[in-house]
């Protein structure tokens, strides 16, 4: 059965700037928002937009991601024709290659795409928090009779030079592309989300693949080539919530922003645009006599006997009596013991913060650092983890890590 559009989701990134969190985990599998992983956003966007066929291109530490995606059932992507498929690199009779760049990852999977004979292919990124209606994007693409469209966000002019920028005319037609230019001619930043006519994409992928000097990258190679040939390229304006969570501080920020949906615009409680996830299956959370919770999100399986303020507890977190959790992102099954103080930080899954330990500190003028504790790390009794620390090994009792 032919598909009008299928999605290819780039999920191969190592996410090196999230190192403590992505040592054994592909970036799209990083937990987010209490019960989600980053990849839930593009997958849920797909299914909410009516796209029922998604190829997920993986190559770095995919085990957790593969297991998480599984048969796609949580996203209603377990379809007889289509559905979600994980696409790792593989060996061919003629040799074998890892994915060299974003374009190469797609190029190596042309036969997957052709199975569905789509008119359009949407290229998605697995490291953004964003609720976006791709159907509206496609409508724009069709209305413009485009061959290529890219979703763009207006960014403040002073920050523009940090982005890949699209220069477009009044009719949204793209005339120029600037990759992190010193002197920006536009403030329309590419979100890295593209719709291609499949015939055009295929043609440029094959051309690019034949070029030994290419980096096989969409931004550096494919888009410049399209511009060179004066293709019909359009910029689609998106003005909803969008966040690249490629750094510890942006990941922390994005988590904090879901605590204030009215302000930030990222509302997980929207019945019309649900974000789906694979559920851990714990009983309801419990707040006991001594527990105090305000301004926070608490997930199934948590036990709260201490204070939780402006924080997110993922499923199965224990906060013991007298412990204080503030401005913190605490991932699943972490235990915060009596008297421990956990502030302005990200604590990964299954960590143990022993009694009276201190992790992070509330930001000051000089130091706004987000402390990070990696998965399964034990921070010993009365140990101290400073606001700029990224802790990947156990911290001994009483030890201080800056």
């Amino acid at each position: 059965m032919d598909k009008e559009i299928i999605a290819m989701l780039l999920a191969g990134g190592q996410g090196s700037r999230l190192y403590a969190l992505t040592e054994k985990l592909a970036k799209p599998a990083v937990p987010f928002g209490g019960k989600y992983r980053i990849i839930d956003f593009p997958l849920s966007n797909c299914v909410n937009s009516g796209i029922d066929t998604v190829g997920v291109l993986t190559q770095y530490q995919p085990l957790v991601l593969n297991e998480y995606i599984g048969n796609g059932q949580p996203w209603d992507l377990d379809r007889l024709y289509g559905g979600v498929h994980v696409l790792p690199p593989y060996q061919k009779a003629a040799g074998s290659d890892w994915y060299k760049g974003t374009a190469n990852a797609i190029c190596q999977n042309i036969s997957f795409i052709e199975r569905y004979n789509p008119e359009y292919v949407i290229i998605l990124s697995g490291d953004q928090i964003c609720k976006q209606d791709y159907a509206d994007f496609l409508r724009f693409h069709k209305e413009k009779n485009a061959e290529f469209s890219v979703a763009v966000m207006e960014v403040p002019w002073e920050e523009a030079s940090r982005f890949g920028l699209m220069v477009a005319d009044d009719n949204d037609r793209i005339t120029e592309f600037q990759e992190k230019p010193k002197e920006p001619k536009s403030n329309l930043a590419s979100m890295g989300i593209y719709i291609f006519n499949w015939d055009i994409l295929k043609q440029y992928l094959l051309e690019d693949d034949a070029d030994p000097n290419s980096e096989n990258d969409f931004g550096n190679n494919i888009i410049p080539n399209l511009l060179r040939d004066n293709r019909r390229m359009y910029a689609y304006h998106f003005d909803g919530y969008w966040k690249d969570v490629g750094t510890i501080s942006s990941l922390w920020e994005a988590n904090m922003e879901i605590l204030e949906p009215e302000k930030s615009g990222i509302d997980l409680f929207d019945e019309n645009w649900k974000i789906y996830s694979r559920t851990a299956g714990y009983p309801g959370h419990q707040i006991f006599e001594t527990g105090r919770v305000i301004n926070s999100m608490i997930t199934d399986g948590c036990h709260v006997k201490g204070t939780v303020d402006h924080s997110i507890l993922f499923s199965g977190v224990y906060v013991e009596e007298g412990a204080e959790v503030r401005d913190a992102v605490v991932m699943g099954n972490t235990i915060i013991k009596k008297g421990a103080k956990v502030s302005h930080c990200i604590i990964a899954e299954g960590a143990v913060i022993e009694e009276d330990a201190v992790v992070g500190q509330m930001p000051t003028e000089e130091n706004k650092g987000v402390a990070t504790v990696a998965s399964k790390v034990v921070v010993g009794k009365k140990a101290k983890v400073g606001p700029n620390a990224m802790v990947r090994e156990n911290v001994k009792d009483g030890e201080e890590v800056c």
């Binding site: 019960k35 009983p283 309801g284 707040i287 301004n295």
Partner: protein, 380 residues
């Protein structure tokens, strides 16, 4: 096949004792009653069976089973969406002569053909009016090792006020056992004592072939109740053993008992006892985490995902999707799925069924003995 001398199939009767709490079962079975913030009562026994390695479970439904069908779906959440075995929901009739079965014997008669065609050696039968995470595998192992004809589970228990007062003709009979060592030597039907007794849990293990024989015999003799008509007459001739369950058991046999058993879970020891064992599976709803705003105050609360707490809530069980708005005060309540409590409303000792809306500034209160009950979908 893997060497499994104890291959077992499960049968659950979801409607037994429906009538003890007709206020909550007017459009559902007792088995599909929401319990413990996130579950339906049947989730417990169904998960126990699955966790014991049983992958072939029949649910013999009797009435009001639309909500149960909806909850169970194809059994995927319990890993029972299988090619072989899996979940088998038996509707109350399959021919033109519509009739609802009356008692376990008739219910079992309708699946005799199915039972004959299965390969499992043993059968565990159970009702679904209790929540427990007892170990079914150990039960079957005990049954096999003692070489009993039948093993019946009981709980040392004091009958609830509801059980003591409910008229005998209303609803299904309950039983207590008299024991000599392990062996059950006598049974009482609907005993009315206030002392501890050996309350029959109606969980029975026996060989599949023995069950087929016993049910065929009873049906031919025109009998209906498994306890009265099958077990009792065999006590003298067959080795029928009692098996005491010492795990945490929430027995739900009345509205007040339903309320109390929910409330008991606010005690951490009780909640850990119920949930400390094997995982209890239930239907997935895709709720987000529960949000506490800056005006929230919560103490002694068990709440599932998907709630929004803006008001004050104390000693409560909140099911998925409950919304307590600003200024509302909710104490000692059980609020089922998607209950909305309006701003400034005050609730005390109330059970709200699913999709109840409490208007702003509404006061509503029951008592410890008679919790007020708001039926499904109502706005008050």
């Amino acid at each position: 096949m893997l060497d499994n001398n104890m291959s077992t199939l499960g049968i659950i009767f979801p409607n037994t004792y429906d009538k003890t709490m007709s206020e909550l079962t007017s459009n559902r079975s007792i088995a599909s009653l929401p319990f413990a913030s996130r579950y339906r009562v049947i989730d417990f026994m169904l998960s126990n069976m699955v966790n014991a390695g049983i992958s072939n479970v029949s649910i013999i439904v009797k009435r009001n089973y639309h909500s149960l069908l909806d909850h169970l779906g194809n059994g995927r959440e319990w890993d029972l969406a299988r090619k072989k075995g899996g979940l088998n929901i038996v509707p109350p009739f399959s021919r033109d002569d519509v009739q609802v079965y009356n008692g376990r014997v008739q219910g079992l008669t309708s699946i005799l053909g199915f039972l004959r065609s299965q390969k499992e050696e043993y059968v565990v039968m159970s009702d679904a009016f209790y929540a427990t995470t007892m170990d079914i595998q150990k039960l079957v192992e005990t049954h096999v090792s003692t070489n009993a004809y039948m093993t019946c589970v009981y709980k040392r228990y004091k009958l609830s006020a509801n059980a003591l007062t409910i008229p005998q003709e209303k609803g299904d009979p309950y039983y207590s056992y008299e024991l000599d060592g392990d062996r059950i030597t006598g049974m009482q039907i609907n005993p009315k004592t206030e002392d501890y007794l050996n309350l029959a849990m109606n969980i029975t293990v026996m060989k599949r072939t023995d069950l087929i024989q016993a049910v065929s015999d009873a049906y031919v003799a025109g009998q209906t109740h498994f306890g009265r008509d099958v077990i009792m007459p065999k006590l003298a001739t067959e080795r029928i053993l009692g098996y005491e369950v010492t795990d945490y058991v929430a027995v739900i046999d009345g509205v007040k008992e339903y309320f109390d058993e929910n409330m008991k879970l606010l005690n951490e020891q009780n909640a850990d006892a119920l949930f400390g064992g094997n995982r209890v599976h239930t239907k997935i709803r895709d709720d987000n985490p529960t949000r506490y705003t800056d005006t929230a105050f919560a103490k002694n609360v068990m709440a599932a995902d998907g709630c929004v707490i803006e008001g004050k809530v104390e000693n409560c069980i909140l099911f998925r999707g409950v919304h307590i708005k600003k200024g509302a005060v909710v104490r000692n309540c059980v609020l089922m799925q998607d209950t909305v409590v309006g701003e400034g409303a005050v609730l005390e000792y109330v059970i709200t069924d699913k999709n109840v809306t409490v208007s702003p500034n509404q006061d509503l209160s029951g008592t410890n003995i008679f919790p007020a009950l708001v039926p499904k979908g109502k706005t008050v």
